[in-house]
Structure formats: C-alpha cells, structure tokens
C-alpha cells in the first residue's frame, strides 16, 4: 500500500543565505510541491512613516532614501514630487533631466545586481561575478556625480541639490559605451544558453489575471504581459521628452522577467545618453518657502516597480501623514499565486524573480513551524543548484558562452 504523502513545512529564514534581509517564509509542501505559503514580516520594520512626521519637509528625503538602499533614488523622488504637488511647485527643466539621469543610472546597476543574484541562485556564479563587476563603474559614476555610491541625497523639494557638471559628460558617455558592450555580451550569453532556457522557462509563472488581482508592478508585472510603467503612464521628471519603449513579455515566467530586466537596461542606457545630450542650461532648483495645507501623491518607477508616496500637510513645517509604498509590498505577495504547485527547488528562484527588496517592504517574515519537519535553510539553495546541474547533464553539459567578458 502506498504511504500517504507527508505534509511538511519548510522554514526559509530568518537568515537565508540567498537573501540579504531576514525573512521567514513558511512553506507547506506535499512531496516536492508547494501547497501553501505564509509570510511573517517584522524584522525590518523600523517605523519610518511615524519618524517622518517628526522631521521637517526638507529633511525627509534623507530619511526615505534609506528606506531601501537600491531604490534610494526613487523613494526621495516620489516623495518630493508629492510635496511639489501640494505646493504647486515646478522644478526647473535642468533639474528634471538630472533626476532622470540619476534614476536611470540606478536602474542599470540594480538590474545588473538582480542578474547576478539570479545567476548565483541557480549555480551560475560566473554570471554573478561578472554582473556585479560591471555594475561597479555605474556606482563609481554615481559617486562622482553625487558623492556617494548609494544614498545619493540628490533631490530636494523644488529640484536637485547638485548639478551634473558638463565636464563629466564625456566620461559618463564613455562608461556607458563600455557598460552597454558588456551588458550585450551578458544578455547574449544568458538568452542563448540552452540550460538557462530549460531552467528558467515555465518556472514561477504569474498569470496576468493573478498579477492584476495582486496589483503587481514593475518587471514583475511587465513580465506577465501587464505593460504598465509610471514613466510612460504618468510621466514625471524628463521622461516625456525622451524616446524609449516600455518592455514587456507575455509569458510570466522567470525567463520573461529576466528578459524584461536585461532589455530595460539597454533602454536606460539610451535614456541617459539622450538626457545628457538634451540637458538644458539653467538652475537646478527653485526656492520653496512653505508648504501650504493639502495632500499630494507622488510616484516613480523604481527598478522593482512603482514607488508611491502620499503626503498630507496642514501648513506647518512637517508632514502630518506620510505614506510610503514600495514596489515589493505588492510584488512579494504575488508569490502565493506563482508558487503554489511549484517545485521546492524553484521556490527561491521564483521569489528572487520579483526582485524582492524587503527593506522596502519593511519586513521580513517569521513564522513558527508548529508540528512541522523543518529542513535545513541551505537546503533550498542546494536543491536549486542541483536542479540546474541535472538539466545541464541532460543537455550534454554545454558551457555558457561568456567570451569577451
């Protein structure tokens, strides 16, 4: 007589070697398939919205830039846009272009970071090393422009704090040429690799209708055929003046999301080149004396999706209410739709495909496993890599073509 399948619970976290933040997902599995997921957040919650109410309007950008390290340009941008709405302030043209350039440079290094991590999860550590090597020049550029590799502190209500000096333009363009070349080689290597096709296609599919129910945004949405992008739908900064396209793929699997991110990197490089060429002369900020009573909504397309800030003012010096919604807050729960029925070996990759930024979400989960068999935390990484190894073997172990990298 066959033994009934035992239900077991896989606890992922709180210190998951794959993810940078603490998290605790409780996965219920039957055999090798996931049947339910519960998430407990709290480890990363700091209480930023309340803290914002104690700061003055012009201090808040420094706080929100640290909501999430890798969306650290989008959060302050969405916030100042909300406040500029309340104050009916329009920043000067040059400021809009500078904001665009900084945000697109951030998108480039964020997407390369993701490609590297995804490579690591499936056992392609060479991809990880190369992707992270080629994001370094972008970080160096950002440091030259703003003074910091991350946490740029570049926007303020009314414009930007710093300008991009014209002398820097040739260097930025030169670096972009290099980055574009390397990204092309990396993209080709990834898209042509039969093992990656077999490993990533059909994995972690998020159907379009589920994407809508879970209100996903960014590459998570665009990889499922939901072609939304704040830069296009409700243009801000200088996006309406630039020639670029929204990239989307219909399949909804991890491969589609990888393609979206890689192709978006090229669009970002295009946009920075155009913005530098069209950079108007003039000041980079207007003076804003006070914020009248009112409410405003500001949103920006962060690398992970839409960052949304709502600000309410009562005419004083500080926000009365400041709501921060990062993209991962809506993207991570969609994991429920894309993971139920999936193989345990694919779970971490599927989660990684939404490019979760737990600090954005201000949480990391903890769930106790009651009466459950808890497997080792490193098991999931091992299972994921083993699956890749099996696929490689079945395909005759072809080597990934990484010439020129």
């Amino acid at each position: 007589m066959k033994e009934p399948l035992r239900k077991s619970v896989l606890a992922v976290g709180p210190f998951h070697p794959l993810q940078e933040e603490m998290e605790f997902f409780q996965l219920t599995v039957e055999g090798e398939k996931v049947t339910d997921i519960n998430v407990r957040l709290s480890y990363n919650h700091r209480g930023i919205e309340k803290l914002s109410e104690t700061l003055q309007f012009d201090q808040v950008p420094y706080l929100v830039s640290r909501v999430c390290g890798i969306c650290s340009a989008s959060h302050p941008l969405a916030y100042v846009q909300a406040v500029e709405e309340i104050a009916a302030v329009k920043p000067p043209e040059r400021a809009l272009y500078v904001r665009t350039i900084i945000n697109e440079l951030e998108r480039i290094h964020s997407h390369l970071l993701w490609v590297g991590l995804a490579g690591h999860f499936i056992g392609y550590d060479t991809v990880f090393m190369w992707a992270w090597k080629y994001r370094e020049p972008v970080l160096d550029l950002l440091e030259e422009i703003t003074g910091n590799r991350n946490n740029y502190g570049n926007v303020k209500v009314g414009g930007c704090r710093e300008d991009i000096p014209d002398e820097l333009k040739p260097k930025i363009l030169q670096e972009l040429d290099q980055i574009e070349k390397k990204t092309e080689m990396l993209t080709k290597a990834v898209l042509d690799d039969p093992v990656l096709h077999a490993r990533l296609k059909g994995v972690g599919i998020l159907k379009k209708e589920d994407g809508i129910k879970y209100a996903v945004t960014g590459p998570t949405a665009r990889g499922s055929g939901i072609a939304i992008d704040v830069r296009h739908d409700d243009p801000y900064a200088a996006y309406a003046d630039l020639d670029w396209k929204v990239i989307s793929q219909p399949e909804g699997d991890v491969f589609a999301k990888a393609v979206v991110r890689l192709l978006e990197t090229f669009e970002s490089i295009k946009m920075v080149r155009q913005a530098l060429a069209k950079l108007p002369k003039g000041p980079v900020a207007v003076d804003v004396k006070e914020i009248p009573p009112g409410e405003g909504c500001g949103h920006a397309e962060a690398p992970r999706g839409e960052t949304f800030h709502y600000v309410r003012s009562d005419g004083g010096n500080r926000p009365v209410r400041h709501k921060i919604r990062a993209p991962s807050y809506v993207n991570v729960p969609s994991f429920k739709a894309s993971c139920i029925g999936a193989d345990i070996a694919d779970v971490t990759l599927t989660l990684a495909a939404v490019d979760p930024c737990y600090s954005c979400t201000e949480r990391i989960a903890v769930v106790d496993g009651h009466n459950a068999v808890i497997h080792d935390d490193e098991e999931l990484l091992r299972l994921s890599r083993e699956k890749t190894a099996r696929i490689r073997k079945d395909l005759g172990a072809p080597e990934m073509k990484l010439e020129g990298l």
Binding site: K50, E85, D233, D234, F308, R312, K323, P333, E362
Partner: protein, 146 residues
C-alpha cells in the same frame, strides 16, 4: 481612459460619494462615508479596471480616514477613495481583500498600526509589529509619541 470618459464613468457612483474632487488632470479624490467604501472600490476595480496601488490609514483627530489609492494607467490618473470612519471608539471598515487579494497586507498593517478592524478580512493577524509589541498600542495614532 481619457479624462472626460473617466469623469463620465465616475458620475455613475456619485450617489455613493460625498463629492468628486478633481485636484488636477491626473489626481482625483472621492470622499465617501465608510459604509459605501466597498461598493465604490468594487466599481473602480471590477468595472473600470483601475489598478489598486495601496491604502493609507490616517488618524485625523476627529475621525479615522482610510484612503484607497487606485491608478488608471491609461491616462496616468490616480483616483483616491477617501473613506471616513466616524466612530473613533470602535473603528471598523469593510475589507476590500475579498475583492482585491493585493490589499491583504496593507489592511493587516493598518490594523497593526492604527487599530482599525477590517470586516470580512480573511486573515487579520499581526503583520509588521514585533511578537512582543504590546496589544492596544497603535503607533500611528497621534496619541503615541515616537
């Protein structure tokens, strides 16, 4: 959809709202009393096909406000439903999670941070406050100091 079309559609639920506040080309606020919030959200999500963005809970001294933000991606318009919860002693609101699974977390968060109870929420458990955070202390309420 275009601005005129959106205005025309919204007039269909005018009777459930206490106003239609068009602050700008791309910003509309729809104040309503708490008993109509589910119906208004259902109209925006299921009939107009607007995307749910997030919700904001506010302690507004004389009442609680729950703002449900939606986006019409075609026109770039952010449509915010503003529900007023007049009963400060027992603040409750119908949950929109049965309609929009994406609202599950934010309603749990508003429950943690403001003490608003969402009726018919499938899983109104603690989400973001620590396990040992004291019950009954709602950090986003004005009476709680940082």
């Amino acid at each position: 959809m275009q601005q005129n079309e959106l205005d025309r559609q919204l007039s269909q639920i005018r009777d459930r709202l206490t106003g239609i506040d068009r602050k700008a080309d791309n910003r509309i606020f729809l104040p309503c009393e708490s008993e109509h919030v589910y119906e208004v959200c259902r109209f925006l999500f299921s009939e107009l096909g607007l995307r749910f963005v997030i919700s904001t809970g506010i302690d507004a001294q004389d009442c609680f406000e729950v703002l449900h933000h939606f986006s019409d991606d075609e026109s770039g318009c952010v449509v915010t439903v503003k529900a007023f919860i007049r009963d400060r002693e027992v603040p409750e609101l119908d949950s929109i999670t049965p309609l929009i699974p994406g609202a599950e977390w934010i309603e749990r968060e508003m429950h943690d941070l403001l003490g608003i109870r969402f009726r018919n929420h499938p899983n109104l458990q603690r989400l973001i406050l620590a396990d040992d955070w004291p019950e009954g202390v709602y950090p986003l309420r004005k009476e709680v100091q940082t």
